[in-house]
Protein backbone atom coordinates (compact mmCIF):
# COMPACT_ATOMS: atom_id res chain seq x y z
CA UNK A 1 0.00 0.00 0.00
CA UNK A 2 2.68 2.46 1.08
CA UNK A 3 4.79 1.24 -1.83
CA UNK A 4 1.97 1.90 -4.25
CA UNK A 5 1.41 5.43 -2.99
CA UNK A 6 5.12 6.20 -3.07
CA UNK A 7 5.41 4.75 -6.55
CA UNK A 8 2.59 6.95 -7.82
CA UNK A 9 4.16 10.05 -6.24
CA UNK A 10 7.60 9.42 -7.72
CA UNK A 11 6.19 8.37 -11.10
CA UNK A 12 4.20 11.60 -11.25
CA UNK A 13 7.29 13.65 -10.36
CA UNK A 14 9.22 11.77 -13.01
CA UNK A 15 6.66 12.38 -15.78
CA UNK A 16 6.16 16.01 -14.72
CA UNK A 17 9.94 16.55 -14.86
CA UNK A 18 10.10 14.99 -18.33
CA UNK A 19 7.26 17.15 -19.65
CA UNK A 20 8.80 20.25 -18.08
CA UNK A 21 12.11 19.35 -19.73
CA UNK A 22 10.43 19.68 -23.13
CA UNK A 23 8.41 22.79 -22.31
CA UNK A 24 11.16 24.95 -20.81
CA UNK A 25 12.83 27.41 -23.14
CA UNK A 26 16.02 27.93 -21.21
CA UNK A 27 18.55 25.09 -21.54
CA UNK A 28 19.56 25.25 -17.88
CA UNK A 29 15.96 24.75 -16.75
CA UNK A 30 15.67 21.78 -19.09
CA UNK A 31 18.90 20.29 -17.74
CA UNK A 32 17.67 20.69 -14.15
CA UNK A 33 14.34 19.04 -15.05
CA UNK A 34 16.34 16.10 -16.35
CA UNK A 35 18.11 15.93 -12.99
CA UNK A 36 14.68 15.72 -11.31
CA UNK A 37 13.71 12.89 -13.69
CA UNK A 38 16.92 11.00 -12.86
CA UNK A 39 16.35 11.47 -9.14
CA UNK A 40 12.75 10.26 -9.32
CA UNK A 41 13.87 7.23 -11.34
CA UNK A 42 16.46 6.42 -8.69
CA UNK A 43 13.75 6.51 -6.01
CA UNK A 44 11.61 4.14 -8.09
CA UNK A 45 14.58 1.74 -8.33
CA UNK A 46 14.88 2.00 -4.56
CA UNK A 47 11.21 1.04 -4.20
CA UNK A 48 11.87 -2.01 -6.39
CA UNK A 49 14.57 -3.09 -3.92
CA UNK A 50 17.46 -2.31 -6.25
CA UNK A 51 19.36 -0.09 -3.82
CA UNK A 52 22.70 -0.36 -5.60
CA UNK A 53 21.27 0.62 -8.98
CA UNK A 54 19.47 3.54 -7.31
CA UNK A 55 22.67 4.85 -5.72
CA UNK A 56 24.64 4.48 -8.94
CA UNK A 57 21.86 6.24 -10.86
CA UNK A 58 22.19 9.23 -8.52
CA UNK A 59 26.00 9.29 -8.51
CA UNK A 60 26.57 8.72 -12.23
CA UNK A 61 23.58 10.31 -13.96
CA UNK A 62 22.21 12.96 -11.61
CA UNK A 63 25.63 13.71 -10.11
CA UNK A 64 28.36 13.39 -12.72
CA UNK A 65 26.81 13.49 -16.19
CA UNK A 66 24.20 16.18 -15.53
CA UNK A 67 26.72 18.37 -13.69
CA UNK A 68 28.81 18.26 -16.88
CA UNK A 69 25.73 19.26 -18.91
CA UNK A 70 25.06 22.21 -16.61
CA UNK A 71 28.75 23.06 -16.66
CA UNK A 72 28.81 23.21 -20.48
CA UNK A 73 25.61 25.30 -20.60
CA UNK A 74 27.15 27.71 -18.08
CA UNK A 75 30.44 27.85 -19.97
CA UNK A 76 28.78 28.60 -23.33
CA UNK A 77 26.39 30.97 -21.56
CA UNK A 78 23.53 29.65 -23.72
CA UNK A 79 20.46 31.88 -23.67
CA UNK A 80 16.75 31.14 -23.96
CA UNK A 81 15.77 29.49 -27.22
CA UNK A 82 13.30 30.61 -29.86
CA UNK A 83 10.15 28.54 -30.02
CA UNK A 84 9.56 27.17 -33.52
CA UNK A 85 6.13 26.64 -35.03
CA UNK A 86 6.59 22.86 -35.05
CA UNK A 87 7.41 20.78 -38.11
CA UNK A 88 5.20 18.50 -40.18
CA UNK A 89 7.80 15.71 -40.11
CA UNK A 90 7.71 15.66 -36.32
CA UNK A 91 3.92 15.46 -36.38
CA UNK A 92 3.54 12.72 -39.00
CA UNK A 93 6.54 10.54 -38.10
CA UNK A 94 6.89 11.30 -34.39
CA UNK A 95 3.32 10.52 -33.33
CA UNK A 96 3.13 7.01 -34.82
CA UNK A 97 6.74 6.43 -33.80
CA UNK A 98 5.99 7.11 -30.13
CA UNK A 99 2.86 4.94 -30.30
CA UNK A 100 4.84 2.10 -31.89
CA UNK A 101 7.67 2.25 -29.34
CA UNK A 102 5.27 2.39 -26.39
CA UNK A 103 3.37 -0.58 -27.84
CA UNK A 104 6.59 -2.56 -28.19
CA UNK A 105 7.64 -1.89 -24.60
CA UNK A 106 4.20 -2.84 -23.27
CA UNK A 107 4.21 -6.02 -25.38
CA UNK A 108 7.64 -7.02 -24.09
CA UNK A 109 6.58 -6.40 -20.51
CA UNK A 110 3.52 -8.60 -20.75
CA UNK A 111 5.05 -11.45 -22.75
CA UNK A 112 5.30 -14.28 -20.23
CA UNK A 113 7.39 -16.95 -21.91
CA UNK A 114 10.38 -14.83 -22.77
CA UNK A 115 13.98 -14.99 -21.80
CA UNK A 116 14.22 -11.33 -21.11
CA UNK A 117 11.35 -9.86 -19.17
CA UNK A 118 11.61 -7.93 -15.92
CA UNK A 119 10.84 -10.96 -13.77
CA UNK A 120 13.57 -13.23 -15.16
CA UNK A 121 16.15 -10.47 -15.11
CA UNK A 122 15.21 -9.64 -11.54
CA UNK A 123 15.48 -13.28 -10.52
CA UNK A 124 19.08 -13.54 -11.71
CA UNK A 125 20.09 -11.65 -8.57
CA UNK A 126 19.27 -14.20 -5.91
CA UNK A 127 17.48 -12.85 -2.85
CA UNK A 128 19.88 -14.74 -0.57
CA UNK A 129 22.80 -12.40 -1.19
CA UNK A 130 22.46 -8.66 -1.14
CA UNK A 131 22.01 -6.56 -4.22
CA UNK A 132 25.57 -5.32 -4.62
CA UNK A 133 27.15 -8.79 -4.35
CA UNK A 134 24.57 -10.21 -6.75
CA UNK A 135 25.20 -7.58 -9.42
CA UNK A 136 28.96 -7.90 -9.02
CA UNK A 137 28.79 -11.68 -9.41
CA UNK A 138 26.67 -11.44 -12.54
CA UNK A 139 28.79 -8.68 -14.07
CA UNK A 140 32.06 -10.53 -13.63
CA UNK A 141 30.84 -14.01 -14.60
CA UNK A 142 27.83 -14.24 -16.85
CA UNK A 143 27.93 -10.78 -18.40
CA UNK A 144 31.70 -10.34 -18.42
CA UNK A 145 31.99 -9.92 -22.21
CA UNK A 146 29.34 -7.18 -22.60
CA UNK A 147 30.79 -5.46 -19.52
CA UNK A 148 34.31 -5.42 -20.95
CA UNK A 149 33.06 -4.34 -24.38
CA UNK A 150 31.22 -1.42 -22.78
CA UNK A 151 34.37 -0.32 -21.01
CA UNK A 152 36.31 -0.47 -24.29
CA UNK A 153 33.55 1.66 -25.84
CA UNK A 154 33.97 4.27 -23.12
CA UNK A 155 37.74 4.16 -23.60
CA UNK A 156 37.26 4.87 -27.32
CA UNK A 157 35.02 7.82 -26.45
CA UNK A 158 37.66 9.20 -24.08
CA UNK A 159 40.39 8.84 -26.73
CA UNK A 160 38.13 10.56 -29.27
CA UNK A 161 37.61 13.45 -26.86
CA UNK A 162 41.36 13.77 -26.31
CA UNK A 163 42.02 13.78 -30.08
CA UNK A 164 39.37 16.45 -30.66
CA UNK A 165 40.43 18.62 -27.76
CA UNK A 166 44.18 18.49 -28.44
CA UNK A 167 45.55 21.74 -29.77
CA UNK A 168 47.37 21.59 -33.09
CA UNK A 169 50.97 22.71 -32.72
Amino acid sequence: MVHQVLFIIFALICVAGAVNLLLQRHPINSALSLVVVMGALALIYLLLGAEFVAAVQIIVYAGAIMVLFVFVIMLLNAGAEERSRGSHVALWVGGPGVAGLAGMIIYLMFRKDTHFNPVTVGNMVSPAQDNTHGIANLLFTRFLLPFEITSVLILIAIMGAVVLARRER
Partner: protein, 357 residues
Protein backbone atom coordinates in the same frame (compact mmCIF):
# COMPACT_ATOMS: atom_id res chain seq x y z
CA UNK B 1 5.11 1.22 15.03
CA UNK B 2 4.52 4.15 17.43
CA UNK B 3 7.73 3.66 19.49
CA UNK B 4 9.62 3.34 16.22
CA UNK B 5 8.25 6.66 14.97
CA UNK B 6 8.90 8.42 18.27
CA UNK B 7 12.46 7.08 18.33
CA UNK B 8 13.00 8.23 14.75
CA UNK B 9 11.71 11.76 15.42
CA UNK B 10 13.73 12.08 18.64
CA UNK B 11 16.87 10.92 16.85
CA UNK B 12 16.36 13.33 13.93
CA UNK B 13 15.76 16.34 16.20
CA UNK B 14 18.67 15.47 18.47
CA UNK B 15 21.17 14.80 15.69
CA UNK B 16 20.26 17.91 13.69
CA UNK B 17 20.41 20.05 16.84
CA UNK B 18 23.84 18.66 17.78
CA UNK B 19 25.06 19.01 14.20
CA UNK B 20 24.03 22.66 13.88
CA UNK B 21 25.43 23.48 17.31
CA UNK B 22 28.62 21.76 16.23
CA UNK B 23 28.70 23.90 13.09
CA UNK B 24 28.21 27.09 15.11
CA UNK B 25 31.00 26.26 17.53
CA UNK B 26 33.20 25.08 14.68
CA UNK B 27 33.19 28.69 13.39
CA UNK B 28 34.09 29.89 16.90
CA UNK B 29 36.89 27.34 17.17
CA UNK B 30 38.22 28.28 13.75
CA UNK B 31 38.37 31.97 14.58
CA UNK B 32 39.99 31.24 17.94
CA UNK B 33 42.61 28.80 16.65
CA UNK B 34 43.49 30.77 13.52
CA UNK B 35 43.73 33.81 15.77
CA UNK B 36 46.20 32.06 18.06
CA UNK B 37 48.19 30.80 15.04
CA UNK B 38 48.48 34.41 13.86
CA UNK B 39 49.29 35.63 17.36
CA UNK B 40 45.89 37.32 17.92
CA UNK B 41 43.14 36.64 20.45
CA UNK B 42 40.21 35.87 18.13
CA UNK B 43 36.70 36.69 19.42
CA UNK B 44 36.76 37.68 23.12
CA UNK B 45 33.95 40.18 23.64
CA UNK B 46 30.67 38.23 23.51
CA UNK B 47 30.50 35.97 26.55
CA UNK B 48 33.46 34.32 28.33
CA UNK B 49 36.24 33.51 25.80
CA UNK B 50 33.87 34.80 23.11
CA UNK B 51 31.77 31.66 23.56
CA UNK B 52 28.52 33.42 22.65
CA UNK B 53 30.00 34.78 19.42
CA UNK B 54 28.23 32.17 17.17
CA UNK B 55 24.90 33.26 18.68
CA UNK B 56 25.66 36.91 17.97
CA UNK B 57 26.71 35.99 14.41
CA UNK B 58 23.48 34.07 13.91
CA UNK B 59 21.34 37.00 15.07
CA UNK B 60 23.33 39.30 12.81
CA UNK B 61 22.79 37.04 9.79
CA UNK B 62 19.04 36.87 10.37
CA UNK B 63 18.65 40.63 10.92
CA UNK B 64 20.70 41.79 7.92
CA UNK B 65 18.86 42.97 4.83
CA UNK B 66 18.27 40.10 2.39
CA UNK B 67 19.26 41.67 -0.92
CA UNK B 68 18.42 40.12 -4.27
CA UNK B 69 20.31 41.89 -7.09
CA UNK B 70 18.23 43.05 -10.06
CA UNK B 71 19.47 40.94 -12.94
CA UNK B 72 19.71 37.53 -11.26
CA UNK B 73 17.86 34.43 -12.45
CA UNK B 74 15.54 34.59 -9.48
CA UNK B 75 14.29 31.00 -9.06
CA UNK B 76 17.72 29.43 -9.27
CA UNK B 77 19.28 32.22 -7.19
CA UNK B 78 17.00 31.27 -4.28
CA UNK B 79 17.18 27.53 -4.93
CA UNK B 80 21.00 27.35 -4.91
CA UNK B 81 21.75 28.01 -1.21
CA UNK B 82 18.80 25.86 -0.12
CA UNK B 83 20.09 23.00 -2.27
CA UNK B 84 23.63 23.32 -0.95
CA UNK B 85 22.51 23.26 2.70
CA UNK B 86 19.91 20.49 2.26
CA UNK B 87 22.31 18.18 0.48
CA UNK B 88 25.00 18.68 3.10
CA UNK B 89 22.54 17.98 5.93
CA UNK B 90 21.13 14.80 4.35
CA UNK B 91 24.41 12.88 4.59
CA UNK B 92 24.27 12.86 8.39
CA UNK B 93 21.20 10.58 8.19
CA UNK B 94 23.18 7.48 7.22
CA UNK B 95 26.10 8.00 9.60
CA UNK B 96 26.14 5.61 12.59
CA UNK B 97 27.37 7.02 15.92
CA UNK B 98 27.33 3.89 18.04
CA UNK B 99 25.68 0.62 18.94
CA UNK B 100 22.12 0.10 20.14
CA UNK B 101 20.60 2.18 22.87
CA UNK B 102 17.59 1.05 24.94
CA UNK B 103 15.23 3.60 26.45
CA UNK B 104 12.02 2.43 28.19
CA UNK B 105 12.09 -0.94 26.43
CA UNK B 106 12.54 0.52 22.97
CA UNK B 107 15.82 -0.45 21.38
CA UNK B 108 17.12 1.73 18.62
CA UNK B 109 20.52 2.06 16.94
CA UNK B 110 22.41 5.36 17.20
CA UNK B 111 21.85 6.24 13.55
CA UNK B 112 18.92 8.01 11.91
CA UNK B 113 18.36 5.45 9.16
CA UNK B 114 19.40 2.42 11.23
CA UNK B 115 16.90 -0.33 12.04
CA UNK B 116 17.05 -2.81 14.89
CA UNK B 117 15.82 -6.24 13.95
CA UNK B 118 13.70 -7.92 16.61
CA UNK B 119 16.59 -10.18 17.62
CA UNK B 120 20.17 -9.09 17.91
CA UNK B 121 22.29 -6.75 15.88
CA UNK B 122 21.45 -3.34 14.43
CA UNK B 123 21.50 -3.22 10.65
CA UNK B 124 21.48 -0.45 8.14
CA UNK B 125 21.15 -0.07 4.39
CA UNK B 126 23.99 -1.62 2.46
CA UNK B 127 24.62 1.52 0.42
CA UNK B 128 25.27 4.03 3.20
CA UNK B 129 28.58 5.17 1.75
CA UNK B 130 27.17 5.43 -1.78
CA UNK B 131 24.35 7.63 -0.50
CA UNK B 132 26.89 10.03 0.98
CA UNK B 133 28.85 10.12 -2.28
CA UNK B 134 25.66 10.63 -4.29
CA UNK B 135 24.37 13.41 -2.07
CA UNK B 136 27.77 15.12 -2.22
CA UNK B 137 27.70 15.00 -6.00
CA UNK B 138 24.22 16.57 -6.06
CA UNK B 139 25.55 19.28 -3.72
CA UNK B 140 27.77 20.51 -6.58
CA UNK B 141 24.61 21.97 -8.18
CA UNK B 142 24.21 24.38 -5.28
CA UNK B 143 27.61 25.92 -5.94
CA UNK B 144 27.34 25.75 -9.75
CA UNK B 145 23.88 27.33 -9.90
CA UNK B 146 24.74 30.00 -7.34
CA UNK B 147 27.47 31.40 -9.55
CA UNK B 148 25.54 31.12 -12.78
CA UNK B 149 22.26 32.58 -11.53
CA UNK B 150 24.01 35.55 -9.86
CA UNK B 151 24.76 36.94 -13.34
CA UNK B 152 28.11 38.33 -12.23
CA UNK B 153 31.50 37.55 -13.71
CA UNK B 154 33.28 36.86 -10.44
CA UNK B 155 30.53 34.56 -9.25
CA UNK B 156 30.45 32.72 -12.59
CA UNK B 157 34.23 32.24 -12.59
CA UNK B 158 34.06 30.98 -9.04
CA UNK B 159 31.34 28.48 -9.76
CA UNK B 160 33.02 27.26 -12.97
CA UNK B 161 36.16 26.63 -10.94
CA UNK B 162 34.14 24.96 -8.22
CA UNK B 163 32.30 22.58 -10.55
CA UNK B 164 35.46 21.58 -12.41
CA UNK B 165 37.35 21.09 -9.15
CA UNK B 166 34.60 19.12 -7.43
CA UNK B 167 34.02 16.81 -10.41
CA UNK B 168 37.76 16.17 -10.73
CA UNK B 169 38.37 15.44 -7.07
CA UNK B 170 35.22 13.35 -6.68
CA UNK B 171 36.96 10.68 -8.75
CA UNK B 172 40.01 10.49 -6.52
CA UNK B 173 37.77 10.68 -3.45
CA UNK B 174 35.58 7.76 -4.53
CA UNK B 175 38.51 5.63 -5.68
CA UNK B 176 40.46 6.19 -2.46
CA UNK B 177 37.64 4.56 -0.49
CA UNK B 178 37.58 1.42 -2.64
CA UNK B 179 40.56 -0.09 -0.81
CA UNK B 180 38.69 0.01 2.50
CA UNK B 181 35.57 -1.39 0.82
CA UNK B 182 37.59 -4.35 -0.51
CA UNK B 183 38.93 -5.07 2.98
CA UNK B 184 35.54 -4.71 4.67
CA UNK B 185 33.45 -6.31 1.92
CA UNK B 186 30.43 -4.06 2.41
CA UNK B 187 29.02 -0.60 1.64
CA UNK B 188 27.24 -0.52 4.98
CA UNK B 189 28.99 1.98 7.26
CA UNK B 190 27.93 0.00 10.32
CA UNK B 191 29.43 -3.17 8.91
CA UNK B 192 32.67 -1.36 8.02
CA UNK B 193 32.98 -0.06 11.60
CA UNK B 194 32.15 -3.46 13.11
CA UNK B 195 34.91 -5.09 11.06
CA UNK B 196 37.42 -2.76 12.78
CA UNK B 197 36.57 -3.75 16.35
CA UNK B 198 39.38 -6.32 16.87
CA UNK B 199 43.17 -5.92 16.82
CA UNK B 200 45.63 -6.64 14.00
CA UNK B 201 47.38 -10.02 14.02
CA UNK B 202 50.75 -10.57 12.36
CA UNK B 203 50.53 -14.31 11.70
CA UNK B 204 49.58 -15.48 15.18
CA UNK B 205 51.15 -12.59 17.12
CA UNK B 206 48.71 -10.07 18.56
CA UNK B 207 50.17 -6.64 17.74
CA UNK B 208 47.68 -4.88 20.07
CA UNK B 209 47.17 -2.31 17.33
CA UNK B 210 43.46 -1.64 16.81
CA UNK B 211 42.10 -3.19 13.59
CA UNK B 212 41.70 0.23 11.98
CA UNK B 213 42.01 0.45 8.21
CA UNK B 214 44.38 3.42 8.50
CA UNK B 215 47.26 0.96 8.94
CA UNK B 216 46.96 -1.04 5.68
CA UNK B 217 45.35 1.87 3.79
CA UNK B 218 47.55 4.76 4.84
CA UNK B 219 48.05 5.92 1.22
CA UNK B 220 44.31 5.77 0.59
CA UNK B 221 43.75 7.81 3.75
CA UNK B 222 45.97 10.65 2.62
CA UNK B 223 44.44 10.61 -0.88
CA UNK B 224 41.02 10.77 0.76
CA UNK B 225 42.06 13.62 3.03
CA UNK B 226 43.42 15.74 0.18
CA UNK B 227 40.50 15.02 -2.14
CA UNK B 228 38.06 15.78 0.68
CA UNK B 229 39.73 19.14 1.37
CA UNK B 230 39.24 19.97 -2.30
CA UNK B 231 35.63 18.70 -2.23
CA UNK B 232 34.79 21.02 0.66
CA UNK B 233 36.56 24.00 -0.99
CA UNK B 234 38.89 24.55 1.94
CA UNK B 235 42.39 25.96 1.98
CA UNK B 236 44.72 25.01 0.24
CA UNK B 237 42.07 24.21 -2.40
CA UNK B 238 39.68 27.13 -1.85
CA UNK B 239 40.01 28.55 -5.37
CA UNK B 240 36.22 28.85 -5.92
CA UNK B 241 36.18 31.60 -3.30
CA UNK B 242 39.71 32.95 -3.64
CA UNK B 243 39.14 36.42 -2.20
CA UNK B 244 42.27 37.97 -3.71
CA UNK B 245 41.12 37.34 -7.28
CA UNK B 246 37.36 36.64 -7.22
CA UNK B 247 36.00 38.88 -4.41
CA UNK B 248 34.18 35.95 -2.76
CA UNK B 249 33.74 33.53 -5.65
CA UNK B 250 30.40 31.85 -6.17
CA UNK B 251 28.65 33.55 -3.24
CA UNK B 252 29.75 37.11 -4.06
CA UNK B 253 26.18 38.29 -4.71
CA UNK B 254 24.63 36.61 -1.69
CA UNK B 255 23.85 38.41 1.54
CA UNK B 256 22.32 37.76 4.93
CA UNK B 257 20.82 34.30 5.55
CA UNK B 258 21.43 33.05 2.00
CA UNK B 259 25.13 33.60 2.47
CA UNK B 260 24.89 31.96 5.88
CA UNK B 261 23.37 28.89 4.26
CA UNK B 262 26.43 28.44 2.01
CA UNK B 263 28.62 29.02 5.04
CA UNK B 264 26.75 26.39 7.08
CA UNK B 265 26.79 23.95 4.16
CA UNK B 266 30.57 24.21 3.99
CA UNK B 267 30.98 23.46 7.69
CA UNK B 268 28.44 20.61 7.68
CA UNK B 269 30.35 19.11 4.76
CA UNK B 270 33.55 19.36 6.78
CA UNK B 271 31.91 17.48 9.64
CA UNK B 272 30.66 14.82 7.20
CA UNK B 273 34.19 14.42 5.84
CA UNK B 274 35.45 13.98 9.39
CA UNK B 275 32.72 11.40 10.06
CA UNK B 276 33.60 9.34 6.96
CA UNK B 277 37.31 9.44 7.73
CA UNK B 278 36.56 8.32 11.29
CA UNK B 279 34.21 5.53 10.22
CA UNK B 280 36.34 4.15 7.42
CA UNK B 281 39.89 4.60 8.64
CA UNK B 282 39.78 5.11 12.43
CA UNK B 283 37.35 2.48 13.65
CA UNK B 284 34.32 4.72 14.22
CA UNK B 285 33.14 4.65 17.82
CA UNK B 286 35.52 1.87 18.93
CA UNK B 287 37.99 2.73 21.66
CA UNK B 288 38.96 1.56 25.15
CA UNK B 289 35.92 0.98 27.42
CA UNK B 290 36.20 1.14 31.23
CA UNK B 291 34.40 2.25 34.35
CA UNK B 292 30.78 1.86 35.48
CA UNK B 293 28.02 0.81 33.01
CA UNK B 294 26.78 4.35 32.41
CA UNK B 295 30.28 5.53 31.48
CA UNK B 296 30.72 2.46 29.26
CA UNK B 297 27.59 3.30 27.31
CA UNK B 298 28.70 6.91 26.82
CA UNK B 299 32.34 6.24 25.93
CA UNK B 300 31.72 5.13 22.29
CA UNK B 301 30.04 8.45 21.50
CA UNK B 302 32.89 10.23 23.26
CA UNK B 303 35.52 8.41 21.17
CA UNK B 304 33.58 9.15 18.00
CA UNK B 305 33.39 12.87 18.85
CA UNK B 306 37.08 12.99 19.78
CA UNK B 307 38.08 11.51 16.43
CA UNK B 308 35.86 13.95 14.52
CA UNK B 309 37.24 16.83 16.60
CA UNK B 310 40.73 15.78 15.56
CA UNK B 311 39.78 16.18 11.88
CA UNK B 312 38.07 19.51 12.49
CA UNK B 313 41.19 20.76 14.23
CA UNK B 314 43.30 19.50 11.32
CA UNK B 315 41.17 21.53 8.91
CA UNK B 316 41.78 24.70 10.92
CA UNK B 317 45.44 23.93 11.47
CA UNK B 318 46.01 23.51 7.73
CA UNK B 319 44.07 26.69 7.04
CA UNK B 320 46.43 28.56 9.32
CA UNK B 321 49.50 26.98 7.74
CA UNK B 322 49.29 26.50 3.97
CA UNK B 323 48.96 29.03 1.12
CA UNK B 324 46.54 28.53 -1.78
CA UNK B 325 47.35 26.46 -4.87
CA UNK B 326 47.40 27.96 -8.36
CA UNK B 327 44.48 26.71 -10.47
CA UNK B 328 46.51 24.72 -13.02
CA UNK B 329 48.52 23.18 -10.15
CA UNK B 330 45.29 22.12 -8.52
CA UNK B 331 43.97 20.38 -11.65
CA UNK B 332 47.31 18.76 -12.48
CA UNK B 333 47.64 17.52 -8.89
CA UNK B 334 44.18 15.95 -8.93
CA UNK B 335 44.41 14.23 -12.29
CA UNK B 336 48.11 13.39 -12.54
CA UNK B 337 48.98 12.54 -8.94
CA UNK B 338 45.97 11.65 -6.81
CA UNK B 339 43.98 9.69 -9.42
CA UNK B 340 46.83 7.35 -10.59
CA UNK B 341 47.90 6.87 -6.97
CA UNK B 342 44.33 5.91 -5.98
CA UNK B 343 44.08 3.41 -8.86
CA UNK B 344 47.48 1.91 -7.96
CA UNK B 345 46.30 1.56 -4.35
CA UNK B 346 43.18 -0.33 -5.49
CA UNK B 347 45.24 -2.72 -7.66
CA UNK B 348 47.77 -3.47 -4.92
CA UNK B 349 45.07 -3.90 -2.26
CA UNK B 350 42.96 -6.24 -4.38
CA UNK B 351 46.06 -8.27 -5.36
CA UNK B 352 47.06 -8.73 -1.72
CA UNK B 353 43.51 -9.61 -0.69
CA UNK B 354 43.26 -12.11 -3.58
CA UNK B 355 46.58 -13.77 -2.66
CA UNK B 356 45.67 -14.04 1.04
CA UNK B 357 42.21 -15.44 0.40
Amino acid sequence: MTPFLIAAVVKIVLVVFLLLTGVAYMTWLERKVVGRIQNRWGPTRVGPFGLLQPLADGIKFILKEDMVPDSVHKGLYILAPALALTMSLISIAVIPFGENITVHGTTTPLQITGVTQTVGHPTDINIGLLIILGVTSIGVYGVALAGWSSNSKYALLGSLRASAQMISYELALGLSLVGVLILAGSFSLRHIVDSQSQTWFLGSINTHLPHWYIFPQVIAFFIYLMAAFAETNRIPFDLPEAETELVAGYHTEYSSMKFAMFFMAEYVNMITVGCIATLLFFGGWHGPLFGPPLLQSLLPIFWFSVKIFFFMFLYIWIRGTLPRFRYDQLMAFGWKVLLPLAIANIIVTSLIVAIWA
